[in-house]
């Protein structure tokens, strides 16, 4: 990376780290969920986690461009949808607790 092409505010780096932090938060929330649900639901949670991971990874690569394009609305919706899916699974578990 050349100094001339470097953004003095380190905006892409900060954005990349924000995606990493958010993925970490998602992992923690998903692990909390995994502790108390039956096996089939664990695989659903793993799927939403993978979905979020994929989104975050694509964005981390996208932000690395020398003139990054803004986040697409589809990307924002995908990230929010994965988050909401986790909440919906949680609500289902609260309303129909598994026995044992």
């Amino acid at each position: 990376m050349t100094t001339a092409g470097r953004d003095p505010g380190l905006q892409p780096e900060r954005t990349r780290l924000a995606w990493r932090r958010t993925t970490l938060s998602y992992t923690v929330a998903a692990l909390l969920a995994v502790k108390q649900v039956p096996l089939p639901v664990v695989s659903l949670i793993a799927l939403t986690w993978l979905g979020f991971l994929r989104m975050a990874h694509r964005r981390v690569l996208g932000v690395g461009a020398s003139r990054p394009r803004p986040l697409s609305l589809r990307g924002a919706l995908a990230a929010a949808a994965c988050t909401i899916a986790l909440a919906v699974l949680a609500a289902t578990m609260v309303l129909h607790p598994a026995d044992g």
């Binding site: 953004d7 505010g9 905006q11 892409p12 900060r14 954005t15 924000a18 995606w19 932090r21 958010t22 938060s25 998602y26 923690v28 929330a29 909390l32 969920a33 502790k35 108390q36 932000v63 003139r67 990054p68 394009r69 803004p70 986040l71 697409s72 609305l73 589809r74 924002a76 919706l77 990230a79 929010a80 988050t83 909401i84 986790l86 909440a87 919906v88 949680a90 609500a91 578990m93 609260v94 309303l95």
Partner: protein, 131 residues
């Protein structure tokens, strides 16, 4: 109202966002994206809190526990939806060179979290235990 409809239409026809105004400096867009991610993390924290209430307070009466957990989960869902909406509105405002939108959501969320916290303290102190 018209404004609200236009924002909602953007949700489902995302490329239309490029129809209006000029592309802002990419650094502003990235800052907007980080704010969006911070709200997503807030949503995830609320959802994790919902799981935690359900999991770590097993001695509570089922109704109280489910109520608190569902309140936190609902707050998380609202937070995620509003994160997308606010991000779109900020992006549009930047493209059109308008003022950034203001919102009462942070206040509402703060009051909601405070209510849940006070309820939890009361519940734990006075022990509404289940049968």
């Amino acid at each position: 109202m018209n404004e609200r409809l236009r924002t909602l239409r953007l949700w489902f026809a995302p490329t239309r966002i490029h129809d209006e105004g000029d592309t802002p400096d990419y650094r502003f867009s990235l800052a907007n994206e980080r704010t969006f991610l911070a709200w997503i993390r807030t949503a995830l924290a609320l959802i994790g809190g919902g799981f935690a209430v359900d999991q770590f307070l097993p001695e509570l009466a089922r109704g109280v526990r489910a109520g608190l957990a569902l309140a936190l989960l609902a707050a998380g869902v609202l937070c995620a939806l509003r994160a997308v909406n606010h991000w779109v509105r900020c992006e549009r405002a930047m493209r059109l060179g308008k003022d950034l939108p203001v919102s009462r959501f942070p206040t509402v969320l703060g009051l909601g979290v405070a209510t849940v916290a006070v309820t939890m303290v009361v519940v734990v102190l006075f022990g509404w235990e289940g049968p």
